[in-house]
């Protein structure tokens, strides 16, 4: 039996999906669009659960909501499992009244009743069940309560029996019944859509509707879309006193917390402190401690593997492939998994506790000046960990153009994979001022984002109507289970990338640096295939670093594979298979990179930071923009901007140095 899981955003849908399906999940794509689609089987049953994107109504407002609507209208399924956040029951049941119109069997999972009880309210699920004429099960998705009962109810469901209930006035119900006769599929839903004069349902296809609509308009004296929405809410409010009881109403904890976090004067300073703390924890504290630890671990693996292989006199090329190519390449990436974990934990907590929505709320005014909205801040913050989930969170932005611009700008935020490049250059060339150089890069990123946003607003979003609709959720204690699962999923996909793309590329880099065009192994690196390819491209790259260097060109180019690859490529090329992030060795001891100085080093960093993002982010952009052409345009913009900017920095910087 196929069960669609439908509910509002923030209703606990993901938690319920996880509670129902456990580990039996698979991720695919939605038909027609390449957005992740999750399906899972309930263990020991024939229940197949399909997780649909969160919606507030079946009148889609975002591309995500459209997916859910289209699925519910066009695909094959047996039951709709409607999850309801009982703390906002009126609005949640509004969606339920629309789901009932689809003429399928609907089951309600009433979530977060424990939270409601704390606030002094109570829902009688049996009365709600009677009012709506469908099964209602109380659950706590987070605490795994009520799940068994829900599964039993779903299993015993007779799928031929449809849910129906009288929601509207007699006049409208009569009109719906009349129109339904002339419609073949989704009768009630489509009949209501025709009455609402929805653009999708042209009146000319239903000339008989004209008269009915006019008659009803005369009765109600306003648009029928308004009347139908009114009636749905009236139906809920009318019955609410039957199933919903309140004991008290006072200032909630959320209100008290917001007096601080949304305070006129304190909000922005608090925000700065929280973000600084997040980066201090992940990049500073944990990063510094673990990077060295993992580095020495890989060092140990490498030396013992090398001596082991030498003792059995393995081929030298094999030893080199394993040690200099694969382990060095992958090690450079796995190095900063610990800081990534901390960063993802912090971001996940900020998201689930409700603070992220508040950041969006109080920064909206600021971002609007640049043609974006407060909703763009979330992709940017998530993007500082990794552009891929950052780009994916842009999905919740309603305005298509604003969403596209946000997706294009998110990779400009220096992600955690770009940190090794920044650390490598700044520590060696700027010494005690390294932190200042790093901070300046972040500021440069912000300036570029804002200027680009203004540019796009001027040429691309000229006559857009702007609006902003955001539900402000209550503060919630982040769930340990949810956060660990969320972080594990994100980190795992990162590790998988290291195991696939970066593995393959490390082998390719090793091959191209170790062999000549005549496939002779062990040639001098300057006679390698990579060097000859790089020396041609070096002419293009000349303005950026003011030097013809095939090695720097190739390293920057390979940043497309993964930004962390830049450092590992430099390390492999410099002939220092060990200690990839030790700047003094790369720059001081190798002839190849000795031409670098503060000025062209900074320009090189700027190019690496702002040019086309890594393959992972590019494919995320392709997915979310849903167009190859738009993706190539975005990459071209990013790379051109990085090239011009880096060349300018190098040119002007060199000139200034000459004068001084």
């Amino acid at each position: 039996m196929r069960v669609c899981l439908v509910g509002n955003q923030n209703s606990g849908k993901t938690s319920l999906f996880n509670a129902l399906t456990g580990m039996n999940q698979k991720v695919g794509n939605w038909p027609g669009v390449t957005i992740d689609r999750k399906e899972g089987i309930v263990k020991g049953t024939d229940l197949e659960i399909i997780d649909l994107p969160g919606v507030y109504s079946l009148n889609p407002f975002t591309s995500e909501e459209k997916i859910t609507r289209d699925f519910l209208l066009n695909e094959q399924y047996d039951v709709i499992l409607n999850i309801i956040d009982s703390t906002s029951i009126e609005r949640s049941l509004y969606l339920t009244t629309q789901l009932i119109d689809l003429g399928k069997r609907v089951v309600i999972a009433l979530n977060m009743c424990d939270l409601l009880k704390k606030k002094g309210y109570h829902v009688h699920e049996d009365i709600l069940s009677e009012v709506l004429n469908l099964p209602v099960i109380k659950v706590s998705a987070l605490k795994n309560e009520g799940i068994d009962k829900l599964i039993k109810t779903l299993e015993s469901m007779d799928k031929n029996q449809i849910s129906s209930v009288k929601i509207f006035d007699d006049d409208i119900e009569k009109a719906v019944a009349e129109l339904s006769l002339k419609i073949s599929v989704n009768q009630r839903y489509n009949a209501l859509k025709i009455l609402e004069e929805d653009n999708l349902y042209l009146k000319k296809d239903h000339p008989e509707a004209e008269e009915i609509i006019q008659k009803l308009k005369n009765i109600y004296n306003k648009g029928l879309d308004e009347v139908i929405a009114d009636e749905r809410y009236n139906f809920i409010v009318k019955n609410k006193s039957l199933f919903f009881h309140s004991d008290r109403q006072e200032e909630t904890i959320s209100d008290k917390l917001d007096k601080v976090f949304l305070n006129k004067y304190a909000a922005i300073p608090i925000f700065v402190v929280i973000m600084a703390l997040v980066y201090f924890l992940s990049v500073g504290l944990v990063g510094n401690f673990t990077t060295g630890l993992i580095e020495s671990l890989f060092e140990l693996i490498k030396t013992s593997l090398r001596s082991g292989l030498e003792s059995i006199s393995a081929w030298p090329w094999l030893i080199s492939l394993l040690c200099d190519g694969i382990i060095t390449g992958i090690g450079a990436v796995l190095n900063f998994i610990p800081q990534l974990i901390i960063l993802f934990i912090c971001i996940s907590i900020l998201e689930t506790c409700g603070y992220m929505s508040r950041i969006s709320f109080f920064l909206d005014r600021l971002f609007r000046k640049f043609g974006l909205s407060g909703k763009s801040i979330i992709p940017f913050i998530v993007g500082s960990g990794c552009s891929v989930p950052g780009i994916m969170t842009a999905r919740t932005i309603e305005n298509e153009k604003e969403k596209k611009v946000t997706i294009l700008l998110t990779p400009f935020i220096p992600c955690s994979a770009k940190l090794p490049v920044i650390t490598l250059f700044t520590t060696f060339f700027f010494g005690s001022l390294a932190w200042l150089a790093s901070v300046s890069l972040y500021f440069l990123a912000i300036i570029i984002i804002l200027l680009s946003a203004i540019l796009f607003k001027k040429v691309y979003m000229k006559d857009e109507t702007e609006h902003y609709i955001l539900e402000l959720p209550e503060y919630k204690k982040p769930s340990f289970r949810y956060v660990t699962r969320d972080v594990a999923e994100k980190v795992w996909s990162f590790i998988k990338r290291a195991g696939t793309i970066i593995f393959v590329c490390s082998v390719i880099v090793w091959f191209l640096t170790s062999f000549s065009w005549t496939f002779q192994y062990g040639v001098d690196i300057e006679n390698s295939i990579l060097a000859s390819i790089g020396s041609i491209l070096a002419y293009i790259f000349y303005p950026v670093i003011g030097h013809l260097s095939w090695a720097a060109t190739v390293s920057a180019l390979l940043g497309i594979v993964a930004k962390e690859q830049i450092v590992s490529t430099m390390a492999v090329i410099a002939g220092l298979a060990d200690n990839a992030s030790n700047g003094s060795l790369i720059f001081a001891n190798s002839r190849i990179f000795s031409f670098f100085n503060g000025v062209n080093g900074y320009a090189f960093m700027v190019f690496c930071l702002f040019s086309a993002p890594c393959l992972g982010a590019i494919s995320a952009m392709r997915k979310e923009l849903n167009s190859k052409k738009a993706m190539f345009k975005a990459i071209a913009y990013q790379t051109l901007l990085a090239y011009v900017l880096a060349s300018l920095i190098n040119g002007i910087g060199t000139l200034v140095m000459l004068i001084i």
Partner: protein, 76 residues
């Protein structure tokens, strides 16, 4: 009177939704801002806009631009 005329913590009943953009009006209705609903101004963002209102037991943030197109009557 429109919703932007209200002061913080003031309550009002919505009398008419005048939003011209059909899609946006639809969404505003879907979110529960229909005639007769009681709305309270809960919070104003530190920079003066958007505004957080409470209705139907939850909170919703909207910009002044949209709120100024929703007519209401203050509840004493």
């Amino acid at each position: 009177m429109v919703l932007t005329d209200l002061k913080i913590h003031q309550k009002a009943v919505v009398t008419k939704v005048n939003i011209t953009n059909a899609l946006l009006k639809r969404r505003i209705l879907d979110m529960g801002i229909t005639s007769g609903v009681v709305i309270e101004i809960k919070k104003i963002a530190p920079l003066g806009d958007p505004i957080d209102i409470s209705l139907r037991g939850y909170q919703l943030c909207l910009r002044k631009n949209e709120l100024s197109q929703i007519e209401c009557e203050v509840i004493k």
